[in-house]
C-alpha cells in the first residue's frame, strides 16, 4: 500500500461535521509507484473532503486516462467515479454537471490528458465555466505510457529518453486565465497543506476551479534536468502567500496584522485568507497574474498558490436557466408535456 494514503487512526476515530471518519473518505489501495506525487495529492484530496464534510454520495469523481486519472479510484470510495477516456474528461464533467447540479464534481487529470490530447476540451470547459474542481497532476510526462514528454514539459528539459524539449510548453494556469477561469491555482504535490487548502477553496468556488499541481513522476521524470522533479519542485517552490480556508459553516476570526493578509469572501459564504509573503501578490488582478506566469515561464520560476481568483463569473448551470432540482431526478410528469401540449403541436402539422 502506498504510504501516503492515510492509515486509519488507532484510537476512537475522529469524525468531521457529518460524523464521518477519515476512513470514509478513502478509496481503494493505490497501485502507483512508491513515492509518486499523485499519491500525495490523493491524500490531500481525502483530507480536504473530510475537512469540508462533504457527503461522499454527493461527489462525482471524474477522470481521463493516465496514472493521475487512475487516482479517482484511490479516494472517496463512497462516491461514484467515472474513469472515462483519454483527454475528454472535461466533456464528461460538463454533461454530469448539467444532469445534476447538486453534485460536487472533482475531476482529476494529467498533463498529457489535459494539455496534450485534451487541450481543446479543457479550454471549452473553462470558458463555459462548468462547475467542477479540475485538478491536473502535472509531471511533464506521460507516466502510464512510460515517460514520453507531454505538452507541459518545459522548453529545454531533457527527458529521460534523451530528447530535449523544443516547443513552447502549455502553461495550464495562464491558459485557464485566458479562457476566463475564475479560480486558478498552482501548487506542488509535496506542499500537502497548500494543496489541501486549495482543494477546499476550489470546492467552495462556483464555477470551474483549475488547480495545476506539479506532481513528480518518480519513475520517469525525476532526474536532473527535469523541472518537474521532486528536488526541483521542492527547491524552487515559491508560495505567493500563505493560504487559509474558512468554510461557510465556521466562524471567521482572522487576526492578522492589518495589511498583512487579504480576506476574500466566496459565494457560499466561505472565506479564503491570503497572508502576504515576500511579494505582495494580488490574486484578483488578471493582468498581474498573466505577467507573473509569463515571468515564471521565462525564468523557470515556480510560484504556487491562488494565482487568480474572481468569484463573480456565472457558472454554466446558472446560464442555463435551470430548475434547482437535478435534471436526473425529474419525474415523468415534469419531463413529458401534456396531452394538450401534444395536441397543440399536432395542429401545426395539419
Amino acid at each position: 500500500m502506498s504510504s501516503t494514503v492515510a492509515a486509519p487512526p488507532a484510537k476512537a476515530p475522529k469524525t468531521n461535521r457529518l460524523g464521518l471518519t477519515m476512513k470514509e473518505y478513502q478509496g481503494a489501495e493505490s497501485t502507483l509507484c512508491a513515492g509518486c506525487g499523485h499519491d500525495a495529492i490523493t491524500s490531500s484530496i481525502i483530507k480536504a473532503f473530510y475537512d469540508l464534510g462533504v457527503p461522499p454520495h454527493m461527489v462525482a469523481k471524474l477522470s481521463g486516462i493516465g496514472c493521475s486519472s487512475k487516482t479517482t479510484n484511490y479516494f472517496l470510495n463512497g462516491s461514484h467515479g467515472f474513469n472515462t477516456v483519454h483527454g475528454r474528461m472535461a466533456t464528461i464533467a460538463t454533461g454530469a454537471n448539467m444532469a445534476n447540479r447538486h453534485l460536487v464534481n472533482i475531476g482529476v487529470s494529467g498533463d498529457g490528458d489535459t494539455a496534450s490530447i485534451g487541450l481543446g476540451h479543457f479550454c471549452h470547459m473553462v470558458r463555459r465555466n462548468v462547475h467542477v474542481v479540475y485538478l491536473i497532476e502535472n509531471n511533464g510526462c506521460y507516466g502510464l505510457t512510460k515517460g514520453q514528454a507531454s505538452a507541459t514539459a518545459d522548453k529545454g528539459t531533457v527527458m529521460k529518453s534523451g530528447i530535449t524539449i523544443q516547443s513552447q510548453p502549455v502553461d495550464l494556469c495562464a491558459l485557464a486565465i485566458e479562457m476566463g477561469c475564475g479560480f486558478v491555482a498552482r501548487s506542488f504535490s509535496g506542499d500537502t497543506q497548500q494543496v489541501r487548502t486549495l482543494i477546499k477553496a476550489a470546492v467552495a468556488h462556483t464555477g470551474t476551479a483549475v488547480i495545476d499541481i506539479v506532481s513528480p513522476c518518480v519513475t520517469f521524470n525525476n532526474h536532473e534536468g527535469s523541472t518537474k522533479s521532486q528536488v526541483y519542485a521542492r527547491d524552487h517552490e515559491e508560495p505567493l502567500h500563505e493560504m487559509d480556508f474558512i468554510p461557510h459553516y465556521e466562524n471567521i476570526s482572522v487576526d492578522y496584522e492589518p495589511g498583512t493578509a487579504k480576506v476574500v469572501k466566496m459565494h457560499d459564504g466561505s472565506h479564503i485568507t491570503l497572508k502576504k509573503l515576500e511579494v505582495d501578490y494580488d490574486s484578483h488582478d488578471r493582468l498581474r497574474a498573466l505577467e507573473l506566469l509569463s515571468h515564471a515561464r521565462n525564468e523557470n520560476l515556480f510560484y504556487t498558490g491562488l494565482v487568480y481568483f474572481n468569484p463573480d463569473i456565472k457558472p454554466l448551470d446558472e446560464h442555463m436557466n435551470l430548475i434547482d432540482e437535478p435534471l436526473a431526478q425529474l419525474p415523468e410528469s415534469r419531463v413529458r408535456p401534456s396531452q394538450e401540449a401534444f395536441a397543440s403541436i399536432m395542429k401545426t402539422f395539419a
Partner: protein
Amino acid sequence: MSQAVADAAKKPATSDPWQQVNDVVIRIATPNGSGSQSANNALMRSIFTMGVPVSSKNLFPSNIQGLPTWFTIRANEHGWQSARNRTDLCIAMNPQTAAEDIAELQPGTMLICRESLKALVKRDDLVVYVVPFNKIVNTVCDETRLRKMVINMIYVGVVAHLLGIEFDEVEKAIHWQFAKKVKAAQLNTQAARAGYDYAVANLEAQTRFVLKRSKAAEGKILLEGNQATALGMVFGGLTFASWYPITPSSSVCEYLTGYMDKFRRDPDGKNTYVILQAEDELAAIGMVLGASWAGARSFTATSGPGISLMAEMAGLSYFAEVPAVVVDVQRMGPSTGLPTRTCQGDISKAYYLSHGDCKHILLMPGNMKECYEFAMESLELAEQFQTIVFLMTDLDLGMNKWLSDNFEYPSKPISRGKVLSAHDLSQNGTFARYKDVDGDGIPYRTVPGTDHPGAAFFTRGTGHTETAAYSEKAEAWQKNIDRLARKFDTAREKVPQPIVKNESGAEIGIIAYGSTDAAVVETRHILEHEHGVKTAYLRLRALPVGKTVQEFCGSYKKILIVEQNRDAQVAGILKSEYPELAPRFTSILHYNGLPIDADTLVAKILPQAGK
C-alpha cells in the same frame, strides 16, 4: 421555342383519355437562397389542404446562396411518396440550369418558364408556358427587394390554374405560412393571385394532369423527419441534449430547441432541460455520456463525420454500460462527401462503431411516425440496455416533408430501466454493478447522488469484475464480454420488430429499411399490377435482427436486400448472422445521392424475377 409548342399551351381543354387525376410531379428549379421555399411550401400545402396526399423532395446544394436547387412536389392519390424519376410539370426559374433542366424532360412534360429563358427551349415535344414573371411582379409591388422575395409566388398561382388547385387553398396556405406576418401574407397572396390571373387570362389549361379535392389526405399531417425526431425526444422525457451543427442533422436540435423552449419550461420560467451546443462531436457525445451517467436522459444528433468522431466514446458507452442516444441523419459519405445528398451509408459503421468487439442497437425508422416513436424508443432502450443506441434516419427522411398518419400521445409510461434507488438498495442489501442477475445480460446500476452507502461504484472503460473492480484476469474479461454479447442477444427481440408482408407463392422476399420503404411499397405495387410479380416484404426496423428476419429469409428462395449504399452494409450484417441463408441474398443497391424511386427499383428487381 417552336410555334407548335407555343400553340400547345393554348389548346382547348378536351376530355383526355390519359388524364391523371391527383397524380402529378412538379419540379421547381431555382437558385439556392432565392426564397423559393415559401412559394414551394405554399404550393404543396394548398394541394395538401385539398385533401390530396402530397410529399416533397428538396434537392439543395451544400452552399448558402446561388447554387442550383430543385424542389419536387409529388401529389398522389395513393399516397405514394417516394422520389420519381419523372417530372410532369417543370418550373424553370434558374438560368444556371434551365438548359439542362429542359433537356432532361420527357416528351409531353409541361414546362413553365420565365420569358428570359424562352430561348433555351429548343425542343417541340413539351407543353410550354412562357410566363413574364418580371412583368407580373412589377404589377404586385415596386420595391426591388420585395419583388425578389415574392416573384416565386407567381408560379404558385400559375400552377394553381394549370392543375386546378382552388385559389382559396392557395390563399389559406400563404396565410398559414406567414402566420403573424400579415403584410408579407398579403403581398405574397397578391403575387400568387397575379400569377393565377395571368394564367387564367393567357394560358390554356391542359387536361392531362388534374388535381381534385380528395379525402385521401384527410386527418393526415405533413412534416419533416427531423421535426418528428425532435418531438419524440420532447415527449420521450429527454433532459439533456448536446450537439454540434452538421447538415442534415442540425434541424433536429434546432426544432428541439423550439419545442423545449415552449413546452418544457416550468411555470416559474425555469427549464427542465439543457440543450448545449458543443465544441465538436467528441464533446457532444462526451457530454451525453457524462449526463447519462449522472442520470439524465440524453442524446445528441449528428451525421457521418460526427459518427466517426464519436467512435471512441461509443466503445466506452458499450463497455462501461452508460446509456446514450445518437441520432444519425445520414448524408452521402465517405468523408465530407455530399452533405446535402441522402444515403444509408453509415449503417454498418454505426452498428460496429469503435475498436474492439462491440456492436450496437440501431433503430431505423421508415416514416415520420417512426421518427417520432423511435426517438422515444431510443431513449427507452438506451436506458433499459444501458448502452448507446443509434437512431438512423437520413437526409431524405429528415429534411423532406412527408405525409403521415397523425401521431399518438405516448401510451407507455417512461421506464428508466434497471436503476436502483437508495430505497431499493436498503431492501436488497447488496448490489454488484455488472452482475447478470436476471439472466438477460442486463445488470443493475445506480446513479451518482444516491444516498446509500452501497450505491457508489466505479465506472471504467478498462477490464472489470462483476463488482466493478479493475481486473486484468482472463476469466473476468471473458465473463463480462460474454455477458455483453448476451445482453445484445436480449435486444434482438426487444427492439422494434420488422414489419412483414408475407406472400404465399412468392419466390422473392424483399428486405429494406428506413427511407427506402416508400419506394419499395410502390415498387411492389408496380411489380404485382404491371408485371405480375408478387413479392414478400420485410421491413427491418432495427438491429440486431432476431427470429422474424431469420424466418423470413428462410421462407423465400431469393432475398433481395435493398439499400442506399454501395457496400451492401445490411446485407453484410445479415450474411454474418445467417451464413446458412447467405446464398439466397442478393443486394439491390442505389448510391448516387438521390433517394431511390420505384421505377429504378422495378428495373433492378425485374431481372431477379426472371423478367
